[in-house]
């Protein structure tokens, strides 16, 4: 009898507390192949999330690459079940895809059940440390064009310097077609190009090695680059400022995590709590510190606001914006 009571005491709390996730498997769908930042972040989270979800479910990662993540987002929006067991993480620029009405987009970014973002990704412009330009003013006075290496339209390596050139009058020459941001770094090293834009996390090691020097940044900030001049603060007019702000806005939600729009509120609440706790977990922090992966939780409510801000722009701004920025990567 006592044994039965003990057994009941051990099992009941799980059922009584409605531990929905006990014994289940949660899948994180990543919109890219293995080997990139989105994938690495998801795999770290998958290791540390179970501890913080009541019922300790398994958490696994599944890669669903293609069309710069549109395929994965379409899947999470319409195909996956709204049972709180499928989470998706994808290209932070998907709101731009929706805004500029890219073919194949079958989702509404504002309607996802937003868990939030696992990190903020700040875009910076860095130039070779042996060049004489140390500040925005000096950069603006450059008489020779500064050659900027880029991957292609739609990536921050291309769009950020393009707007700097168009609206702030920097003397930049953008050369695109490099296969990855690492390839551009090599081109900088062999002096084929003078600098590049990109997320701070991908450039920071090369700054520390003394190869490049950061000179400007976009709105989103991270420790270490707060002092850099911000592109939109230097805008000559309201329209330029609006366009730069629009390009930067999704970066606050640098590593988006969502579930199906119809996910019950209790599961969403559980997941938001679990993400917030996992990202503060000392074990996770020790791991990400080693990997130089700065995680920082941005709550889903903030993410939804950012999406609404991006998607509620007046028509003329969207039209002007589309002239410069295409969705990609």
């Amino acid at each position: 009898m006592r044994l039965v009571v003990l057994l009941l005491a051990a099992v009941l709390p799980g059922i009584a507390l409605g531990q929905y996730y006990a014994g289940k498997t949660v899948t994180i769908i990543v919109g890219y192949k293995t080997g990139g930042g989105y994938d690495a972040t998801a795999r770290v989270l998958a290791r540390h999330l179970p501890k913080h979800i009541p019922g300790k479910p398994n958490v696994i990662v599944q890669n669903m690459p293609g069309a710069n993540s549109i395929i994965a987002a379409n899947h999470a929006y319409a195909v996956a079940k709204p049972d709180g067991l499928t989470i998706a993480t994808f290209n932070r620029n998907l709101p731009i895809a929706q805004l500029t009405k890219v073919d194949g987009v079958k989702f509404d970014m504002t309607k996802f059940a937003w868990i939030g973002s696992a990190a903020t990704e700040s875009t910076i412009l860095a130039i070779r440390a042996d060049l004489p330009y140390k500040s925005f003013e000096e950069l603006k006075k450059a008489d020779k064009p500064i050659v900027i290496g880029a991957t292609g339209p739609g990536a921050n390596t291309y769009d950020f310097p393009l707007l700097l050139k168009e609206f702030l009058g920097l003397n930049l020459k953008i050369v695109s077609g490099y296969q990855s941001s690492a390839d551009i770094m090599l081109a900088i090293e062999r002096k084929e190009v003078d600098g590049r834009a990109g997320s701070y996390s991908s450039i920071v090691r090369f700054i520390e090695r003394g190869l490049v020097r950061p000179v400007m940044r976009a709105r989103a900030s991270e420790p270490g680059i707060e002092q850099l001049p911000v592109d939109e603060n230097l805008a000559p007019n309201a329209r330029a400022k609006a366009i730069m702000a629009l390009r930067s806005a999704p970066e606050v939600v640098g590593r988006p995590y969502v579930m199906h729009p119809g996910t019950p509120a209790e599961h969403l609440k559980t997941m938001r709590g679990a993400f917030a706790a996992a990202i503060k977990d000392p074990e996770l922090i020790a791991e990400t510190k080693k990997a130089r992966m700065e995680l920082d939780f941005v709550d889903g409510d903030v993410a939804v606001k950012v999406m609404q801000e991006v998607l509620s722009q007046p028509k003329d701004i969207v039209e002007e914006f589309s002239k410069y920025v295409k969705f990609g990567e």
Partner: protein, 498 residues
């Protein structure tokens, strides 16, 4: 320098790194044989386990796993004509043709022995090159990389059948490959090319899905039509003798194996070229060793040199491809990108220091590749004869199993049904090419090099306008490209005079 070389060896030759390496080899062996779990995915899954390890142990584990997957990928290529990985497709042309002649054992022996020599030559070439490797990589800017791609494309002349008709077909197939390489979003204007409003095609054709289709499907159809085993009706006894014969072949064509190993190392060092390129260039070079038109016709029909070349290059490139990752922090492949993640976890900073201060650690990685290859090749030899017997199994029993290999292998490239459709479509194209006598190798070369050539040409012109044309290395590579194109013609004239 020499000191660091041996220090690196002693770092690996301790029981803990060796134990971790053995574990890595075991895992890599299965991953290489089984489709559906690519080498890169396995590395990503195993990465968290290295947190608690010392750098040398961690790289013995990860690189052991990675090096082996490249070797075992050749086995399915030879036996079934199914490329285990994108980088082992060139072995199919002659390797599988040999299996069909009942020489599966010999082909496997040759593939493994040349892999071993490739790994060792690659490692030593690397050791000698370390003092000059930084300037060497930095000399190859976008214009030079473009010309290197052109040299690769020039090999189409060698990969085509002799005679004007053969050349025409070869160049048309190469042109189709280049055209297929343009599918997807272009990186200069962001315009979607030939995507037919399909999201799947935005990223371009997936190489694995195409290669599996174009090589494996025709073999399966052929096997189904012949209603026999892969090796026809040859007696089983003749098949198992061959493995050691393949090893002897490797030494019979020793200098070819060495040259192809060096090609592999060099292409491996060049960031942005990729392993698939190395294998096809080595295959092209192997066909150049044919002394007469008769001999040339033997390539594709089971000439052992067509196995030795790509086999050697496939493994020698592994050592080379470590260089951009280690010395510059620029990974050349997905697997290397994940390995780079491992560097950071272990507190190592890739960069010039790895070639000076941490040189022993760098060498320990090179040694790991060598030792892992030796162990795998020896282990494989024990299994070879049993594996070779698979080619005497009735086709109707094998086909379902091979089809599973084919479709899982292609589906895992994107986890999208589009992968299957691409495999089927290119399977059909491949079958028609085989029936019509069109060479498939130039098509693959065009597909692999098309995007590389396009991007680097664009960058060269955008950055330097016309001035890049006069850069010395560009001119040297231009002469080499001309020589590669002219070689088959000169050879034929010489043969005609003799």
């Amino acid at each position: 320098m020499i000191e660091a070389l041996f220090e690196g060896l002693f770092l690996v030759l301790q029981w803990k790194p060796l134990a971790f390496m053995a574990l890595g080899i075991l895992l890599g062996f299965w991953v290489g044989l089984l489709p559906g779990l690519g080498g890169a995915t396995t590395l990503a899954l195993m990465l968290p386990f290295v947190y608690a390890m010392q750098p040398v142990e961690a790289f013995a584990f990860l690189l052991g796993m990675h090096a082996v997957a490249a070797t075992t990928g050749d086995i399915t290529s030879v036996l079934f004509g199914v490329p285990g990985e994108a980088a082992s497709a060139a072995t199919i042309l002659d390797g599988h043709a040999m299996a069909k002649k009942g020489e599966a054992g010999r082909a496997l022996g040759a593939a493994l022995a040349s892999s071993l020599i490739g790994a060792i030559v690659g490692a030593f070439a690397l050791a000698i090159a370390i003092p000059i490797v930084r300037p060497l990589v930095l000399t190859f800017g976008s214009p030079e990389l473009f010309m290197l791609a052109i040299v690769g494309i020039a090999f189409i002349a060698s990969l085509s059948a002799p005679g004007p008709r053969g050349m025409l077909r070869g160049f048309l197939a190469g042109g189709l490959g280049l055209l297929c390489a343009t599918i997807g979003q272009d990186p200069q204007a962001g315009i979607a090319r030939y995507t037919f409003d399909m999201l799947y095609l935005w990223q371009g054709l997936d190489l694995v899905a195409v290669l599996v289709g174009i090589f494996a499907i025709p073999e399966i159809i052929d096997l189904a039509i012949r209603r026999s085993s892969i090796a026809g009706s040859l007696p089983a006894g003749r098949i198992s003798k061959g493995a050691f014969e393949g090893v002897k072949d490797t030494f019979r064509h020793f200098w070819l194996t060495i040259r192809c190993s060096l090609i592999g190392t060099f292409i491996g060092i060049m960031p942005g070229m990729g392993g698939t390129v190395a294998q096809w260039m080595a295959y092209g070079h192997a066909t150049q060793s044919a002394r007469s038109a008769e001999e040339r016709k033997g390539f594709g029909a089971g000439d052992v040199r067509g196995v030795l070349g790509p086999g050697a290059a496939n493994n020698s490139k592994e050592g080379g491809s470590l260089i951009p990752t280690i010395a510059f922090g620029v990974p050349g492949s997905t697997a290397m990108a994940i390995l780079l993640g491992g560097f950071f976890l272990l507190g190592l900073v890739p960069g010039p220091d790895m070639l000076t201060k941490h040189l022993p650690v760098t060498f320990s990685m090179v040694w790991t590749i060598v030792i892992a290859n030796v162990v795998t090749v020896l282990a494989c030899f024990l299994l070879l004869d049993h594996l070779a017997k698979l080619t005497t199994v009735r086709g109707t029993l094998l086909i379902p199993a091979i089809l599973v290999l084919v479709f899982i292998g292609s589906y895992t490239s994107n986890n999208h049904y589009g992968d299957i459709l691409v495999t089927l479509l290119f399977g059909g194209i491949g079958y028609l090419m085989v029936i019509g006598g069109w060479p498939r190798a130039p098509f693959v070369l065009g597909l692999v090099l098309g995007k590389i050539a396009e991007n680097y040409l664009y960058i060269s012109v955008a950055r330097y306008e016309a001035a890049w044309l006069t850069r010395p290395v560009v001119l040297i590579l231009f002469v080499i490209a001309l020589a590669v194109i002219a070689y088959p013609f000169l050879q034929r004239r010489k043969a005609a005079h003799a």
